[in-house]
Symmetry: C2
Subunit: 550 residues, 2 copies
């Protein structure tokens, strides 16, 4: 049988714990246990170490999740059915095609060309006691399948079981880019928080960490050859990401199928660079900040200065060397015109070279992007670079829409690939109070709070032609850190970021009523694994799908 | 000198870390260190054990807070001034008047008659190396003073120092009731979370935990003689508060100057009682819930039944025995008329006794309140009991305003004492998404989010006459738990609840611009003590008071 999302939820509330929902799914209603000696076998010659490690982590989840079913009796009434169920002896992983040459690792697949990544898989879990089979075209697909497999099981007094065998899944993502953006500049996050977040991201098949690593407020990234930036610009000597930290984060992510796209926003959002290289920054900490920047402190790279272009290009290249992604974001949002108008240096450069601001921005962008291209990176930019301040960009440039989802069509019409990151749907930090001081009502520019329901009902191709739609790579949740930090990372992000993850894996059109019981499962399973996802409803409701619907 | 709140903040941003702001305060600008052998002495015969323990905790804070000053260099530039500063050898606590008989403990004072509690103190910290002196009329006042003393100090490489000596403080609260309400019924909080919250409350001089312990969704309170209620109504056998837990929480609170007012909401919000005593509940889990209750599951005590009144009175008395507060809240909010209309039992009782609904509610209330009075408790009720469904209430009854701050005047005019708890200012859970299912936009009834600034600028006596104003006991923040739990308790509550704490300690009229730097201090100090208060701004702003003001 193949049931619609809604029908499945109505019939099998406790059994349907998969998130994101597989695009092809058939479930039975036969109980099945994991055998005591249950094993996961890799039928691949010389399996890559990260796949072996992923199997080991999956076994850990099966042993340690200990998630009681989200039904009123937490599964107790199924005890005898479970006791007499067949046992699943094994799960065997294999590749659908014998690879030519050595099998590529998950880590290699995770950072490969985005449109070419193969994340699909098929998973069959028979009800008759024969072994389960997971197949994919890549180790990355096998990893996604392992993630799904680990969500099938509940615990009842030490027995790991499902009530939904046989299971047949044929799954692949609707969009190749499913991301989460983290800002580590406004407030600092220790490496352990980032790694915990990468784990959680992988559990809902998010495949991109867009790491907004530095900004005007602090420069935690230690860049070889440019270490003064973090030495003088980090909040403290401990609030940094060393090259070893970055390599460790990138490797940790890749092994979990996640590409880490770094962002060093330019030419705006660079005030902190003035602490080490004052010669490159216009209007550094100029006051009142409202006249020079969208947020304090003011400060922008002197985009018309040849020396600053050279410095920026060198820094971006050096930073790019720390990351394995094909992408590197140079930002380009919120450039303040007045800052440059008031900066004598910039005015001198512009007039001596007989350039307008936009011409200078164009040259700055082309030069810095060329530097990145010389080390194999494609650029990512914010929407202003094609709308407000349109500059020449290489065809492979990816544009992120942030100001408003209303701008998606205009961006798509530029012919560039785009990522949905609009503040009116995907900004996790909005609606929790404004952060600027001397603001008696405390409201924020991007009120209200973006609910999981709001993001879930977003249509990624609304008003787009087929050609424009083909440029949509996917979308992401974003956590800007003016009011975020380690203290509320989990509670702000989870489970809301999972909502967006499902939208871009399973595709749009999902129904919040049907999704809610499964989203509770995400919350409860995340907690078992050490991520502090918040409650969406009273537990009374979580155990009674539909009972708290309007 | 005696400076206004604003002037102090402008002059001494790093030194003014006191929250709530003392009502009388004079600070100098002389550096002072804590001596290596710094000691806190209690010049009281037979000092109560909880005061001795409070002194010990204070010493722990002084030794372990290790809070670097919130200035750009985190205090480094003051190193030589600190090194050559005088040392404070001691703090001596004494009572202003020799007590008649044995000195009352903090715990006893904390639960004494609310208008009679003495929380004021004077604190003098000389700059010349002579000892500091803390005086009060009660051990409770001494405890408040210790709390203030512990906020005066920063750490620089192991030296504990202040730059603001001499300090002279004469402090007392503007309002006797400064509370925090926690709902432990929609979702369960372990005892450890409650105790951590009590600690945090005491650090900002909140003196009341209004414990909404049970509700329609779950009944975690184990009541002697009525244990079936929790046995059948708690979310799990572990999700309960045993009598030992309650005593431990009440004692922990009292030792920190906090009165624990329990609430068992009646006659509405009682669906869960049906699991153990179905005979007492009308419309239990009736569907659609929207027709029978403001939230699922529906279910109300059969208020017109003599047997149910007797049961309720007995249960309330038994529950009251677990607490030491003079108050006990019987709730009384959101009574659903249709539930009783559709309940044949209730209709039979009403007609056989020839009572209207309101007459029956009046009798139910008087009988249950009389039961509480028989064990020494004054009742607390929600505003509907004097506005929507006005019943006869004893003069000592305290009314909580929750629906809207616009109802304060009407409540005050009834002549009852009142507590500010209005949803439009003090509900910490609002604005983070609606929790009912099948709600595509995900909005909630009490949007938007209540910012700390909004609560801070509340006027407790707006539109009230002097006589009406005299009935305002104070106010509180409230955390309803439909979407809250241990995962977001700290991040939802802190520092916002501190904003309300200062409003009702220091009095209204505070300025958010001046308050923000001190509120950062609360956040950073809370973190040092293990409470995950969230960032209000980028750290760049927290270290530069005013630099991020609009």
């Amino acid at each position: 049988m193949k049931l619609s999302l809604f029908a499945l939820s109505a019939l099998l509330p406790s059994a349907l714990a998969l998130w994101p929902l597989p695009t092809g799914l058939s479930l039975g209603s036969t109980p099945l246990r994991l055998a005591k000696g249950f094993d996961i076998k890799i039928a691949i010659n010389n399996a890559p170490a990260d796949l072996v490690a992923a199997v080991s982590r999956t076994k850990g989840f099966l042993a340690n999740d200990k998630l009681a079913a989200l039904v009123i009796d937490r599964g107790a009434s199924s005890a005898s059915a479970i006791a007499s169920a067949k046992s699943l002896p094994s799960l065997t992983l294999s590749l659908a095609f014998e690879p030519k040459g050595p099998c590529k690792s998950i880590s290699a697949e995770a950072v490969g060309p985005i449109e070419g990544r193969s994340e699909g898989y098929t998973l069959v879990v028979p009800a008759d006691g024969s072994g389960a089979v997971l197949k994919a075209n890549s180790t990355l697909g096998l990893f996604r399948g392992l993630t799904t497999f680990s969500q099938l099981w509940y615990d009842l007094k030490g027995t790991t079981y499902s009530l939904s065998a046989p299971v047949q899944i044929s799954d692949a993502p609707a969009y190749p880019y499913r991301g989460f953006m983290l800002d580590t500049a406004r407030n600092y996050y220790p490496v352990s928080d980032i790694k915990r977040t990468l784990d959680a991201m992988s559990w809902v098949k998010i495949n991109t960490l867009h790491w907004h690593v530095v900004d005007s407020q602090s420069f935690p990234l230690v860049i070889p050859g440019y270490t003064e930036l973090s030495a003088k610009g980090a909040y403290s000597a401990k609030s940094v990401y060393t090259p070893e930290d970055v390599k460790s984060i990138v490797a940790y992510a890749a092994a979990r199928g996640i590409d880490v796209i770094p962002e060093i926003d330019t030419p705006g959002h660079t005030s902190v660079i003035a602490k080490a290289f004052p010669e490159h920054i216009a209007c550094a900490e100029a006051t009142p900040w409202t006249a020079f920047a969208n947020e304090p402190p003011a400060g922008q790279l002197r985009l018309a200065s040849a020396s600053t272009i050279s410095f920026t290009s060198g820094m971006l290249k050096a930073a790019a060397g720390l990351f394995s992604s094909q992408f590197f974001s140079t930002g380009g949002d919120e450039i303040n015109a007045n800052c440059y108008k008031q900066d004598a240096e910039t005015q001198k450069s512009l007039s001596s070279s007989n350039q307008t601001f936009l011409q200078a921005l164009d040259k700055f962008t082309q030069d810095t992007h060329a530097a990145l291209r010389s080390v194999g990176k494609s650029a990512v930019v914010w929407e202003e670079m094609v709308l407000d301040n349109p500059v020449k960009l290489a065809n492979d440039t990816v544009v992120m829409v942030w100001i408003s989802s209303a701008n998606v069509q205009a961006v798509a019409r530029t012919g560039h690939r785009l990522v949905h990151a609009a503040s009116d749907f995907f900004y996790l930090d909005c609606g929790q109070g404004g952060w600027v001081g001397a603001n008696p009502n405390g409201n924020s520019w991007c009120d209200p709070f973006k609910t999981w329901q709001h993001a879930y009902t977003f249509n990624p191709t609304a008003n787009l032609t087929a050609a424009e739609s083909s440029r949509v790579l996917g979308g992401q949740s974003l956590l800007w850190a003016e009011q975020s930090g380690p203290q509320n990372l989990d509670s702000t992000t989870w489970p809301r970021a999972a909502s967006t993850a499902e939208l871009f894996w399973s595709g749009p059109g999902g129904n919040v009523q049907a999704a809610l019981p499964r989203l509770h499962e995400v919350v409860y399973r995340f907690r078992q694994r050490g991520v502090a996802a918040i409650s969406l409803q009273p537990e009374w409701c979580a155990l009674r799908p539909g009972a708290c619907d309007l």
